[in-house]
């Protein structure tokens, strides 16, 4: 278990206490910790998609300095796409149901 102490104004304290009570928290600490953990999780999830660490940057550098990692499985997938397009199972995005029933 860790501790976290902080100073806050009397106004803020009574405001937070009232909110904690309204939300049904037994203690001010429970409310503060629960709220902050939620916010921290959201902040990290939202930011981590935008943030590239030093390790990420060197990984990106590595990927871009070598030939593409596209492999045979991707090329097979591209062949599958072409087959589906050519066979007109899908026409303009619409599946033609005549040749294919469930």
């Amino acid at each position: 278990m860790a501790r976290f102490d902080t100073k806050l104004s009397d106004e803020h304290k009574s405001l937070i206490e009232e909110a904690a009570m309204l939300k049904g928290f037994k203690t001010l600490s429970d409310y503060v910790v629960s709220t902050m953990v939620n916010d921290a999780v959201n902040t990290i999830t939202n930011t981590r998609e935008l943030y590239y660490s030093r390790a990420d940057r060197s990984k990106i550098m590595e990927v871009l300095s070598k030939p593409s990692t596209a492999n045979d499985k991707l090329f097979n997938a591209i062949d599958l796409q072409k087959k589906l397009v050519d066979s007109e199972i899908f026409n303009n995005g619409i599946r033609q149901e005549t040749s294919q029933e469930e």
Partner: protein, 167 residues
């Protein structure tokens, strides 16, 4: 280039019965795809059944990678404040009833081909994907997308090998 998918049009395509086993991907199509594409934040591409009900979709967005990650050989003098252009396949989803038919794989190939074609018009060095969970990560990994260390995106370089797949 011929594509499997067509651009999402709320007047032509029915989204209400779309149900993906990954809930956020259902919610995105139901609630946000229309608005986002109207504001040109994404392009949404769909396949439908004969009743025009969407059975799969993906999104494409212009995106970027940090400039100081670029190898010196590729960029002799990195311009300040620039980023490195890529195309993001942000979401890719198949209706839960249509799983196991290879549509996910075909849609990924379709998205990759659109990205490569776009790269012939606008400088684009890589394709990135944003896997929604571990299984999605595995899915992209098998096609050669590379996982980063901390950031959740996976990337693939666009080069002649891929460009050769355009017809």
């Amino acid at each position: 280039m011929k594509y499997l998918t067509t651009e999402y049009d709320k007047k032509l395509h029915k989204k209400n019965n779309f149900l993906c086993s990954k809930e956020p991907l259902t919610i995105y199509l139901q609630n946000y795809a229309g608005q986002d594409s109207k504001r040109n934040l994404v392009k949404v591409y769909v396949i439908t059944n004969a009743n025009s009900e969407i059975i799969g979709y993906y999104t494409l967005t212009a995106s970027s990678l940090p400039i100081d990650a670029i190898p010196n050989e590729l960029l002799k003098r990195p311009p300040k404040g620039y980023t490195y252009p890529c195309i993001l396949i942000g979401r890719l989803a198949i209706h839960s009833k249509e799983e196991g038919k290879g549509y996910g794989t075909a849609l990924l190939a379709d998205a990759v081909l659109r990205s490569i074609e776009a790269s012939t018009i606008i400088g684009t060095a890589a394709i990135s994907v944003l896997p929604i969970d571990k299984n999605a990560k595995k899915f992209y990994d098998q096609f050669g997308f590379v996982e980063l260390v901390d950031n959740p995106h996976m990337i693939m370089k666009i080069d002649e090998k891929l460009l050769g797949k355009l017809r």
